[in-house]
Symmetry: C2
Subunit: 326 residues, 2 copies
């Protein structure tokens, strides 16, 4: 089984050469462990931060180590009574074709309830991020107007639709006409940020801003936001590859005059909200009122390219790499 | 009686020539009105924002109008049964030697409870700003470390001391050795920001930042703040005179990784907290556990110079202009 390691810390935008594909030793599961063959591995923007070598909320990846993260696969051999061969599981095995995990670190998935890949997307970390951000951080209310940047991404497309289902007017930005079209079909007032200035798109004013992007979108949102507005600071994909920190928004002082609340959060602090999240969101996914898309790249050898592609907006919805067959 | 009007909208730092001293007509109080002779008039940094002509949370001052704001004086003639000649009152008459006000817009002051000038400072708007900011916005807790910038100002010196009385470790910045010495005598770990980089002074880390200053101090505070920290965005005196907006902090993305909450507020939204504020803070002022200073300039003709001086740090504690005798 093969795996992808961090070969060098990226400088600026990550490149294929920052990663290395290698053969892994064939580990055998011990007591209480599982051998899992991955089917889908996840590439996520937050991983860029872990590649820099700076400790933030999670330890950095070390050069030479496998890039760990979410993965969905099937149990190939079980040494734990709770799992049987063939079970679908979510693990943090990351960028490898498979490997050994402790059974208590694996979450069993019901493939009849939802496609297992959704455990990496709309019903997994990105979906929980959207839901927690809106409800617990932004405290959205029906009738409000929200702006979601990066609205065609894994988190953004969930956030935009959950907000709509909660009775908000939703404006969303994306970076291609295809993405914009998809978002419009979902009832989102979408615009292409490469063609339309956010300032124009937000001219009616907003109450809440769900920030996946940072930079110019944040500045435009601060300008457009109404008094007592909230900024849900989820990410800043436009900035993750900056080699040196760029200046922040020129209008941050509006925070005082408009009495704004800007709040950052990390989804892993909110794992206890997972059951409530699934209880509310899974039915929406099942009945089609919340739609999701996946951009699926094939082959473990293409994991680095898929990851790099996140920063070029190559994905619509959740970016996944299929590394095995189900 | 004389009064000071806005003669021109300041460009950049305000100058004496932006204001005009003129004779006012001798108005007579009607039914339910008072004629008040001011003793102290207040100059406050927030007034700079009202001079720009942009509507923020209060309407802008118009060119040719008297600059209104807090003032303390004595009733010279009363046409309202609740007030007697000689009573001390707080009004919003602003930069004039006196004038007519509706009685229900005047607050009577008890000169035996506290010196009337404190109604413009430690027991007035600046003190309430400090207290509301710390308790309701920052939700400070004993044992935390707070950094207060502009700690020798009217708001800052109240905030620093209230935080200390609430059991916090308090670091404060100021712009002269005299101010630093005063703050140290109050139990504040004070530093002169012109001589010591905030980065150094905050090297141990902080939990809360009470921002009166903006700019470089905000950037340093974001770097030093611990996870789950809060920024109480009260003001940004370093930026009020910018002719064009300057970039914000280069490290604002730390908001996400550190899960920070940055929240702006305007004290006038919190007037309902005034009784609780006075109940807690007035005893501290009386028994000397909370100290205050006033920088008093004499003569209505010197109001513009006193106001301009705020932006040069001419004040220790509350800046007042004495325009009459008590």
């Amino acid at each position: 089984m093969r795996e992808v390691t961090l070969a060098a810390r990226p400088r600026g935008a990550p490149q294929d050469g920052d990663f290395e594909l290698r053969e892994a030793g064939g580990a055998e599961p011990g007591d209480g462990e599982l051998l899992v063959r991955n089917v889908f591995v996840s590439v996520d923007p937050y991983m860029r931060g872990r590649m820099t070598g700076v400790r933030t909320y999670v330890p950095p990846y070390e050069v030479g180590d496998v890039v760990t993260g979410g993965a969905v696969g099937r149990v190939a051999r079980s040494r734990d009574a709770r799992f049987a061969e063939g079970d679908w599981v979510l693990t943090m095995l990351g960028w490898r074709e498979g490997g050994v995990v402790r059974a208590d670190r694996a979450r069993r998935l019901d493939p009849d309830a939802a496609p297992p890949s959704t455990a990496l997307g709309v019903l997994g970390m990105p979906g929980l991020t959207a839901w927690v951000g809106l409800l617990d951080i932004g405290r959205i209310e029906a009738g409000e107007t929200i702006y979601v940047s990066g609205a065609a991404g894994a988190v953004g497309s969930a956030a935009a639709q959950i907000a709509r289902l909660k009775g908000l007017r939703v404006i969303g930005s994306a970076g291609s006409s295809d993405k914009v079209e998809w978002l419009r079909s979902l009832g989102i007032e979408a615009f292409d940020y490469r063609e339309t200035e956010a300032k124009q798109a937000l001219a009616d004013g907003i109450d809440v801003y769900f920030d996946n992007v940072g930079g110019a979108q944040l500045e435009a949102a601060l300008a457009a936001i109404r008094p007592y507005g909230r900024v849900i600071a989820c990410g800043a994909i436009s900035r993750y590859n900056d080699e040196r920190p760029e200046p922040g928004p020129r209008n941050l002082f509006l925070m005082v005059t408009k009495r704004l609340r800007l709040q950052g959060f990390i989804v892993s602090d909110h794992d206890d909200r997972y059951p409530d999240f699934v209880a509310e969101v899974a039915p929406w996914v099942r009945d089609g009122s919340l739609r999701y898309r996946e951009t699926i790249v094939d082959g473990i050898e293409n994991v680095p390219a898929a990851f790099v592609g996140l920063f070029h907006g190559d994905n619509v919805g959740k970016m996944l790499v299929r590394v095995g067959i189900d």
